[in-house]
């Protein structure tokens, strides 16, 4: 009885992990898992509603919607992952430096951060990618550059909370070098903040890149990108609504799952931090 109650409590928690797992499998399997060639056109069967042969129907060029979704999973996960990792690495290094060095290094970094902090990254990405026509790499670069400041702030304040604690003080007294204090002593204690934020950055990058593709910026035409599919299939809303609803649901589900997992990771790490502090 009690075991079942415990499982029942765990089931809602498992849903996001399960959903994300499916998408990861699709990303790994890619075209090999897709029932059809994602680029193959079938002009005799365009904009067909879902059927036994095409579970999610076909788009206006007769391409299989499910195959395109499966094949698009890799880029849908890879792009945001690059942004999230890039932001985490840059923000950790800069934040550690600002928090630990203090002085003019800190104020120079923080002035820059303050200036960019309030800027909505996606809005700037729309303007920059649109005007320069730089495509996907530029979109990723802009999103990284504009998401770093918020994380720098967070890492810096975590460092500020740690830098005067006894363990840092004693390491300094014993004569441990600055680099070593930063990366072997401070970094492990700041890492929970960074990891929790990594997932949040992933979500905003996923949404951002999909939004750019939806507006026709970033990804090239023809690529099976989820955001792109939304824009392309919007026109046949009355013929095959699934062609547009499916990528919309998929983007939302992935974003929500990662957010939920990130939230849980953050809670667990915060709780562990409290235990360590108490010990």
């Amino acid at each position: 009885m009690r075991a079942r109650a415990r499982i029942a409590r765990k089931v809602p928690g498992a849903i996001p992990v399960f959903a994300l797992g499916l998408v990861v499998i699709a990303a790994l399997g890619g075209d090999w898992l897709a029932p059809y060639d994602p680029g193959a056109q079938d002009l005799a069967n365009t904009a067909m509603p879902p059927s036994g042969a095409h579970w999610l129907g076909t788009d206006d060029l007769g391409r299989d919607v499910l195959s395109r979704l499966v094949s698009g999973a890799r880029i849908a996960l890879l792009g945001p992952a690059v942004v999230a990792i890039g932001v985490a690495v840059l923000a950790t290094v800069i934040g550690l430096l600002a928090g630990y060095r203090g002085g003019w290094v800190d104020s120079a970094i923080m002035r820059g951060v303050d200036l960019v902090y309030a800027v909505p990254p996606l809005l700037v990405a729309i303007v920059v990618v649109g005007v320069f026509g730089g495509g996907y790499p530029l979109a990723i670069g802009v999103l990284i550059a504009l998401s770093v400041p918020a994380d720098v702030r967070m890492v810096r304040s975590a460092v500020l909370a740690q830098r005067n604690l006894a363990y840092v003080e004693s390491a300094r007294t014993v004569g441990v070098g600055r680099g070593r204090i930063l990366f072997t002593h401070l970094l492990p204690n700041v890492l929970p903040t960074v990891v929790a934020n990594l997932l949040l950055t992933f979500v905003s990058a996923l949404v951002g890149l999909a939004a750019l593709a939806f507006l026709g910026l970033g990804v090239g035409t023809g690529a099976p990108d989820w955001g792109r599919m939304l824009a392309e299939n919007k026109g046949m809303l009355d013929l095959n609504p699934a062609a547009m609803a499916a990528p919309a649901v998929l983007i939302t589900v992935v974003a929500a799952s990662v957010t939920l997992i990130g939230d849980r990771v953050y809670d667990r790490m915060a709780a562990r931090g409290r235990d360590v502090g108490r010990a």
Binding site: V127, G130, V131, L215, L217, L230, V249, T259
Partner: protein, 317 residues
């Protein structure tokens, strides 16, 4: 005295930010691919007279910095030049498109206030209840749901499936407007509701444990007074802080929502101008956005002063 110093400091910071932003926005023309004349010519035939006229109008023979000052002088007088695409003054184009975006923004903002604040407050007061868990989970999903996906799903269900709301256009007259803007406004409000509800809940959780609330309840004051006068006012600060965040999200949201629902607002104007490389219009929109953001953040600071006597007396450090 404190208040004046505080105000002065914030105004100065706002002015500096605005200046830096306008410099970046100005540089957009020089930085965009192709020469400035080419960009400003657009699709018009490149006759020598026209090129000379453009060079004179945009002071292209002057050094970069002096061009910037001249441009800034025009901008202060609300003159952003003419659209490359239509030849219309940018200011006219902006004001034409403004009302749809403004109506959408106000509508969405009202929805956020009406839904998020009560939901967050009651969730925070009854911590751990079914209601609380529901609000928390919904807010978590709402924060991450992309506006265009939400919009398209609403469109599929309520526009095409049930046929309750019109599928595109901005509508005529007040009733038509409300009818046409309901789905877009709901779409835009989702993220805002999620943020504000989370903030309000956290603030209410914090306030609910305070002695003065326990005391108010012990005195037998009605729940509405305890909630409305004590809890709401004391949880207002963090909620107002998130207003800046909500605005930033709604600006991005406006671009996506207007494109999704084909509304003729400022957001869709930005997308059109960006993809046709209509730099003067992009510059006008970018500056307008920056000024709005900076202005709202300034107002948020002022609200602190008005709402919390402690900030007033400590000088807002």
């Amino acid at each position: 005295m404190y208040i004046l110093a505080f105000l002065g400091k914030r105004l100065f910071a706002a002015a500096v930010t605005l200046l830096v932003t306008s410099f970046v926005v100005f540089s957009l023309l020089a930085a965009s691919p192709g020469s400035p004349e080419q960009t400003l010519l657009g699709s018009r035939p490149p006759t020598p007279e026209l090129i000379a006229a453009i060079r004179a109008r945009y002071h292209l023979d002057d050094p970069f910095l002096s061009r910037f000052w001249q441009w800034l002088g025009d901008v202060v007088q609300m003159d952003f030049g003419r659209s490359v695409r239509s030849g219309q003054p940018v200011t006219d184009m902006l004001s034409e498109r403004l009302d749809v975006t403004l109506a959408l923004g106000v509508y969405a903002f009202l929805l956020v206030l009406v839904i998020a604040v009560p939901a967050g407050l009651s969730a925070g007061i009854r911590r751990g209840s079914v209601l609380d868990r529901g609000v928390t989970l919904t807010a978590l999903v709402g924060v991450s749901a992309p506006p265009f996906a939400v919009g398209l799903l609403l469109l599929t269900v309520f526009g095409v499936g049930l046929g309750w709301f019109p599928v595109f256009g901005a509508g005529e007259g007040f009733a038509g407007r409300v009818e046409h803007l309901t789905l877009p406004a709901v779409t835009m409000a989702v993220a805002g509701v999620a943020i504000v509800a989370r903030q309000t809940r956290a603030a209410a959780l914090d306030v609910a444990t305070k002695d003065f609330v326990t005391f108010a309840e012990a005195r037998g004051l009605p729940r509405s007074v305890v909630l409305g006068r004590y809890a709401l006012r004391n949880s207002a600060l963090p909620v107002i802080t998130s207003a800046g965040l909500v605005l930033a999200m709604s600006l991005t949201g406006a671009v996506l929502v207007e494109s999704t629902f084909a509304l003729p607002g400022l957001g869709s104007l930005l997308v059109e101008s960006v993809s046709t490389k209509d730099i003067p219009v992009v510059q006008g929109l970018a500056l307008l956005t920056a000024a709005l953001m900076i202005g709202v953040n300034l107002v948020v600071d002022l609200c602190y002063l008005g709402l919390d006597p402690r900030v007033r007396h400590s000088g807002g450090a």
